[in-house]
């Protein structure tokens, strides 16, 4: 079911607008004008994952000592243990865990943000 959760300008860049949808806490992110919505419960230890940070991460490499940074703006890092999730799919990155962060369809109509939850 679709819920209107506020005006698009209420969403800070790269920081979540945390909304309550029928008792469910959902984090809405805006990164480079794209919107994402995730369940605000980390599948690891139930931390408020939407209070985490959005950025990139170090990509797996075959060369010890060398660092390659990527996925800028696509990674949500939990504020507790630092588990990293693909902001769009909720997948836990690089095989760290099979657990997935629940995500929701989100969009804008007019200037209002709607979440399907």
């Amino acid at each position: 079911m679709e819920h209107c959760v506020g005006h698009v300008d209420e969403i800070p860049e790269r920081d979540a607008l945390i909304v309550d949808v029928n008792g469910r806490s959902i984090g809405i992110f805006k990164v480079d004008n794209r919107l994402y919505a995730v369940n605000n419960i980390c599948p690891h230890k139930a931390a408020p994952v939407a209070r985490g940070t959005v950025g990139g991460t170090m990509l797996p490499t075959s060369k010890p000592g060398e660092l390659e940074y990527g996925l800028e703006g696509q990674v949500l890092k939990c504020p507790w243990h630092g588990w990293e999730f693909n902001l769009e799919t909720g997948e836990c990155l690089f095989g760290v865990s099979g657990r997935r962060l629940k995500t929701y369809p989100v969009g804008v109509r007019g200037d209002q943000v709607y979440v399907e939850a």
Binding site: M58, P60, P64, W83, V96
Partner: protein, 359 residues
């Protein structure tokens, strides 16, 4: 039950004095001018003679226990029907107390030549973990390349300086060992915490033998963790490591904790592409002695399962030391398939000793 003993200690009577025939004239003169013994840790075991060597292992012809290859054959190999014994020298381990690099590398070479001549030539059941002096990793690598292809050489004993094993300082040694197909063997040198150049214990300086002997596992735990996370097994995918006589009940904890931390801090070591425990299980072996003595017997089997002993554990006696495990008294209640892996198969595969020695 076929048996390979992965931790046996030969001794050279007189220390450096005994190595004299294997040193050049110049080096003989050099060592004649100074104390020719390698130093002992001041915290001695409270045993007869303040030594780790069993009194009953003294050869009939005299000398220290472990110093007579003929007597060791009877007293140990024949008695327990041991097919192969992997020798490592505790005296060579004490090289890490020496502040002088040239002395250390010269003695390491002499130790190797001594054991090749006086032991390997005596009985093909003897196999040697050759020694290197880590003081100069490039010379150590040369030494590995000098003799590492010989049939009797099955591992490289690296006595540790106070540098963690993942540090690239040691990489020339790993490169040569991998090239020659030899596992790196680490073992307490008995000098830990007693000399400035040797490995330090965590937290401070133990004050008794019981205390320092109890905390040996710290060293293996820190070294293995360092090797895995620094990516040593990514750089040297063929490299194997044997952690001898450091115990193993701590290993499951290390595996779990490393994995847990990897899930959280993977991005700090992005060359670690899967759970760190998998690198350990693939590359590291533990020796079985001293057999752990948990509160309940059934815990032992559980611990062995947790450490995947069917692929990681190598049976060892530590002959002729005071805490010897014998094949008759240790690990009697294990399931047969696991026992076979521990007592023989794992070592045979690791050291390439599938064919029985010609005695």
């Amino acid at each position: 039950m076929r048996i390979i003993d992965s931790d046996v200690h030969p001794w050279i009577n007189g220390d450096i004095e005994g190595l004299m025939p294997y040193l050049s004239t110049a080096w003989q003169r050099r060592f004649e001018g100074k104390r020719s013994t390698l130093p002992d840790h001041p915290l001695r075991p409270p045993l007869a003679g303040a030594t780790s060597i069993r009194r009953d292992a003294t050869p009939p012809g005299g000398g220290a226990g472990g110093s007579d290859p003929e007597f060791m054959k009877e007293d140990h190999l024949d008695r327990y029907k041991i097919e192969y014994a992997v020798l490592s020298s505790i005296q060579a381990g004490k090289l890490v107390t020496l502040p002088n690099t040239d002395e250390a590398v010269t003695l390491a070479r002499a130790f190797n030549d001594y054991f090749r001549e006086e032991w390997l030539a005596v009985d093909s059941r003897y196999r040697l973990a050759m020694s290197v002096a880590p003081h100069d990793p490039f010379v150590a690598a040369e030494e590995i390349r000098r003799i590492g292809d010989e049939e009797g050489i099955v591992a490289v004993f690296v006595p540790l300086l106070n540098i963690l094993m993942g540090n690239r300082y040691y990489y020339p040694i790993y490169e040569a060992a991998e090239e020659r197909g030899l596992p790196i063997l680490i073992h307490p040198t008995g000098t830990e915490g007693g000399f400035q150049t040797s490995v330090a214990f965590a937290g401070g300086i133990p004050s008794t033998y019981i205390e320092r002997h109890t905390v040996f596992p710290e060293i293996a735990m820190a070294s293995i963790t360092s090797m895995v996370l620094e990516g040593v097994f990514v750089r040297f995918p063929g490299l194997k490591v044997v952690a001898a006589e450091f115990g193993y009940s701590w290993a499951p904890h290390m595996l779990w904790r490393m994995d847990q931390n990897w899930r959280e801090f993977r991005r700090e070591v992005p060359w670690i592409k899967y759970e760190p425990s998998k690198y350990v299980l693939e590359h590291v072996k533990f020796t079985s002695q001293p057999a752990e003595e948990p509160e309940k017997n059934e815990y032992l089997l559980q611990i062995l399962e947790m450490v995947h002993a069917d692929r990681t554990m190598l049976f060892s006696t530590d002959y002729p030391h005071w805490d010897t495990d014998t094949p008759e008294t240790a690990y009697r209640r294990l399931p047969e398939p696991m026992k076979q892996r521990i007592f023989y198969d794992n070592a045979a595969e690791l050291y390439g000793l599938e064919t029985p020695a010609q005695v």
